[in-house]
Symmetry: C2
Subunit: 298 residues, 2 copies
DNA sequence: TAAGGTTACGGCGATCGTAACGATC
DNA sequence: GATCGTTACGATCGCCGTAACCTTA
């Protein structure tokens, strides 16, 4: 058993068990990868992969179990490298951030700008994805830190920090009936609604608010992305329910925003990272920067 | 970085940073170990060991930190091997049990005998140690399962199962004043006492019982081992406070035992193993055997 | 027939062991 | 002087790459 075999297993998973692709990723020729895999299986004493003919099409029971340990080893190995480079020069490195569109556009710009000013030698990679994907990004080591509102609860191997609290709000064109008068759930339900897709940016909170009532929202558009919602609100498709902080007083001055804090419970945007991952110094400072920005944001 | 370097680091710790001994344990010549260590430190970019001249005398800060990851990797690597051999033949293997004298002598014989009958091809190694050492045995991978009463609480990376409940009891020679009449803490405190050493077999419970009172026990002998206590009770040195199950009605018929369940809170003997360790099938069956024996024991 | 995987073989490099040396208790 | 660690050098064994071959979409 050796570390490159362990890594090969990880890479195999990432490539849907395609040995050729895996070999390429590891900068070795395909036959070499094939042999390494065979040697490892020989050492284990039973096959780790289900095969159809020669093709790898799945994992055996023992393969799955061993993969858990493989993941642990890879994580620890990666930690060692990060620790080492952090110790050598704690102002230099790479930070992979995974987040959703809303956070990327409305919350992160300021803290990231500040962070860049302090750490010009840290490269920041941002991956935009659905909240569900964010967890995968963390688990596969593709992201160091995830920032989002949904889904990052009760995950056992994640460290989760509350970042800031926010309310939903409606946006409507000027002159829309909802610009005046008290807003109630009943009244909202009489209009066509534009809001986030399932699993995005507090959509689950909206669901939970309406679920116990007899009302059903008439959702005519569900988008992952606030800007799409606003665009169609401008076209008069209906009432947008968006995250309050996604209303930009300058750019969105043609739209009227009204807070729904009294109707829909607040949502919390959180910071998450793997419990077992080593976060370098600059990463910890980045998190601090987020928390500072969060206070200004509230 | 490769696995033998990782292993070398672990072995170095086990040998008090003696490179020669470590090399021997790894079945390589000492110069090879020296080089491997250098290569690893070069890759990390800074020394992992404090040196006096050439001797390794301690670990640097980064060395300590990296050791945590090294331990994780070694554990996972070991798990892989156990998983593999468990899958190959789940009736064969080795079980390292760490426990204290009292458990080894009075509780374990029956379950171990039964287990041996079911699994003749599993070699059982028993290490007898102090409760404190048991934890170390688990953490260093020298023991798979620990059985004892003290110390195995609130350890974060241990899985702990309650095994059985027991009471303290006194043993005295026939005709001793304590053979008759009600036993109270006050009365106990008037006699010279023989009991377990600090940190052994419920000694802490005895301490906690007397602590809030004004009474102090006159402990004339503290032993790790029930048999030593009984021996000196027989010589008339005083009153033995032992674990109830350590009284053998046949062999100790010359002594009178009286239960202290009303005076001293019960103690619990627990089974402990590392949260991240893979316990092979026969190991799980061994634990079941313990729990069965525990019921008969109560 | 293209894509994925295995087998055979020669070459190169990593790592080992021997051995001589340096330093520290 | 015994123990512990480093450096130098030749030898070996593991692993890679090339290439031919097999098998299935």
């Amino acid at each position: 058993m050796n570390l490159s075999q362990i890594e090969l297993l990880r890479v195999l998973q990432e490539t849907n068990l395609n040995l050729s692709k895996a070999a390429e990723k590891m900068h070795i020729v395909q036959s070499a990868a094939s042999r390494q895999l065979q040697m490892f299986e020989a050492e284990i004493g039973s096959p780790l992969f289900e095969r159809q003919g020669k093709r790898l099409v799945g994992m055996t029971v023992i393969g799955e179990r061993i993969m858990q340990e493989v993941a642990i080893i890879n994580q620890a190995k990666n930690n060692i490298q990060v620790i080492a480079s952090d110790y050598m020069d704690s102002d230099k490195g790479t930070l992979h951030i995974a987040t959703t569109h809303t956070q990327a556009k409305y919350f992160l710009p300021r803290p990231i700008q500040r962070f860049r000013a302090k750490y010009p030698n840290v490269s920041i990679y941002m991956v935009q994805a659905s909240p569900e994907q964010l967890i995968t990004q963390l688990n596969t080591g593709k992201a160091d830190i995830a920032i989002c509102t949904e889904k990052v609860d009760e995950e056992n191997d994640l460290v989760i920090e509350k970042c800031y609290e926010w309310h939903h709000a409606i946006v409507v064109p000027e002159g829309h009936p909802l610009c005046t008068g008290t807003i109630t759930l009943q009244r909202l339900a009489t209009f066509p609604i534009l809001t986030y897709s399932f699993g995005f940016t507090g959509r689950s909170t909206i669901e939970r608010t309406f679920e116990p009532t007899d009302l059903t929202l008439d959702i005519v558009l569900a988008a992952a992305d606030t800007d799409v919602i606003k665009t169609y609100v401008r076209l008069g498709l209906g009432v947008g329910i968006i995250a309050g902080m996604a209303y930009d007083p300058l750019l969105d001055s043609d739209l009227v925003m009204r807070d729904l804090g009294d109707l829909i419970p607040s949502s919390y945007t959180k910071i998450a990272y793997l419990k077992n991952s080593y976060i370098p110094l600059f990463g910890q400072h980045f998190i601090e920067e987020l928390l500072i920005a969060a206070k200004e944001f509230g």
